[in-house]
Amino acid sequence: MIGGALALAAGAALFAIAVGAVLPVRQRVVWVGLFTALCAGAGGVAAAAVLAGGNTFTADFPDLFPLGGVRIEFDALSAIFVLATAVVAVPAAIYGIGYSARGPSSRPAQVAWPLLVWGVMMVPAAGNVTGLIAFWELMALSSFVLVLAEHHHNPEARTAAQWYASMTHLSLLTIVLALAVLAHQAGGDSFTAIRAGTDHIGPTTATVVFLLSLVGFGAKAGVAPLHVWLPRAHPEAPSHVSALMSGAMVALGVYGLIRVGWDLLGGGPTWWGATVLAVGLVSAMFGILHALISSDLKRLLAYSTTENMGLVFIGVGAAGMFASSGNQPLASVALAASMLLVVNHAAFKGLLFLGAGSILSATGTRDLDRLGGLARRMPVTAATFAVGSLAIAALPPLNGFVSEWLLLQSLVHSLPSNAAVVAVAMPVAVAVVALTGGLAAATFVKAFGTTFLALPRTVEADQAHESPRTMQIGLIALAGVCVALALAPTALAAPLQRVSLAVGGLADGRPIHTNGVYLQLSGIEAGLSPLLLATGLAVMMVAVLVVVRRGRLRRTVRDIPAWGCGRTVQTARMEYTATSFAEPLQRVFDDVLHPEIDIDVDHRTESRHYVQAIRYRMHIRDGFEHRLYLPVLSVVRRWGDGARRVQNGSIHRYLAYSLITLIVVLVVSR
């Protein structure tokens, strides 16, 4: 059945590519969307089957490429990532039908989209080095095409694509290096062979492979300081593509790291985990701070992806540290927390990106300071975006809370531990996770509040209409997934156990016990019932409502303006904007963010005691980009300038170079 589903997925993807290349625009969009959804759905079914049954599916295609074959090895770890992909890809594909009709309907974009979905699903399914790299590159190329899809009317997309291409190449380069070294040392290309050959790998080689893959997969996951492409590329891609990229593609960085570091290499010393944890801490803080101050909705979501990947890294790193210090049950809880977060993140970040796309296509802007009042104009988008915002802010009773809770439990119960580094790292980790949670709540109050509530700030926002039906279906489906994951995370207890068994080097055990309603952890006396929590909240609300209605309610006055301190006119210009909302927190973190603020005051010509206009400009640069990348880039540019002096276009000089080379070669190889 698993094989059939995977074959169906491949067939659907091929068919979608074919119709994307052949059909005229209007049918093209519809059929590509439907078949991409089918492809993702089939992949999801395969993943669900593996997670439910626990069998690993393998298949070999030995002669697919001239240099090596492709092997499919579909185990529980692969399946959880494919499941996450399917969760976001099916609704995104359906949404894409409506979205593409007004946007990226060109042939290349419509061909690249099913390719990307299929590539993202097949990367975790690959069972050998060649397969992994092939699918990885497929995914990278198709996503690159899609980032460029709207470059005609959006010049920003070109610089974004440049950054994306270079970071993707860096990522691919390091991954290829890491996997090549690994395969060479272990004496085999397939993962089974590598696992069997880990004994031949010395600790130094293992460390080199681990660090290389940390860089390569970390760049894909968008963790700081390798995140620079993410806040550029994700906003510029079409929204359903951003949903898939942010929800599922970046998570493959985590997949790769776990697969190479803890599955193939079988784990390592404590500092591996500590390094991953540290990267996670920095990313989480950095990501959420920049999301907080960002007033571009999609950029905000992209930075929040860096934050969430940081949280996943914290979980993986903590699991690695616990595993090396011998606390296997806790390691499996930490791993379960990050895997649940991957699935949850796919659902809510996908939902939020689709919502952002809906807003973008209705108003033509992503600038929060130019939106407002959309709740009554776009009720479906507003309701689903609200679900996503509450979920990503980790508020109960939604799904983000469950994974946050698991993560905190695993961190909190690490003490007392006999490893000093654990004892030092865990309080810091809890503090960072907590601060991240608080800031995420503030960020998404800002995002939802300034977009959907109060008065529209521009004419465009005032004249917005709800998106077409297909887009609404995508939104509602993902919101439904969020709610389902929130109420019944217990259904994932057994699959998470299979995942933790699949990663032998990290954890083995049964992280979560459940009787259907309560979540209980192994070795930790702590319980949570998201279902009962939601029920309790609903019961309380109904009770309050009943009591209030019972006490003879007087009439409700509705058609009145808001209380504006008696001012004659109350306009949207008086509302707090996204920038002003974030200002207090930005000031609190001034020392980290280093904002550049210009204030110009124009005086009236009559007297300089009267002010004509005040212009306030604030610019916050990405610290890593500014301090790390730009210096490196300027050095590279200087080399480039030097090279230009060597290459001045004179044919004589080029011939002279050839002569010199020939002489050198002759001398050297004498």
């Binding site: 000093a420 004892a423 030092v424 309080p427 810091v428 020392d591």
Partner: protein
Amino acid sequence: MTTTRFVQLLDLAAGLVLVTSFAVLWLRRLVTVTWVIAVQGMALAAVALVIGVYEHETELALIALMVFALRGLVLPGLILRAVRAGDEHREVESLINVPAALLAASGLTLVAYATTRDVVALSSTPQVRALPLGIAVMLIGMLLIVTRRKAVLQIMGVLMVDNGIALVMFLGTSGVPLAVELGIASDVLLAMFILQVLTARIRTKFGGTDLDQLRELRD
């Protein structure tokens, strides 16, 4: 005194020494800071007293009395006088802001714990387990010296470093010879006097003791 009671009292007193050093970083009014330094000295005395009573060492109890008088009363009194004498008894000025200083101090505490783990592991007496507190107080004292602008606060920093050293000695060696303690105390007193004289001189000559302004003397 039962062992549990002893452990509790010891932890409480040693914990107070640490908390007061955080309070010094947090507070802004110089007079209040001086009071907190006095409380720290008293807490230090309490540590010595608790150990002395538990181990029936009269000598240590005597030292406790002396520490109380010197670090709880005399030295803070002198500092208070210096603070009041200058017209600078208003607010602390710092090179880094308060939350950053507090976070740095908690980092230093972690460092203190992490670095003394091996020592602590050697012996499991309650005294030794509280040892990192002393190191932490020392480090926070140094942080104070490094980050504060006013000379008076540097004096307090020196005093805090010294309190930390004393705490380490009480906890680590359980029973410092009286002579050693006397010697150290007199050293501190000497340093105090010198600094105070210096401060007074600088103030009469240049007015105020802002270190950034002092730097201009060099140029």
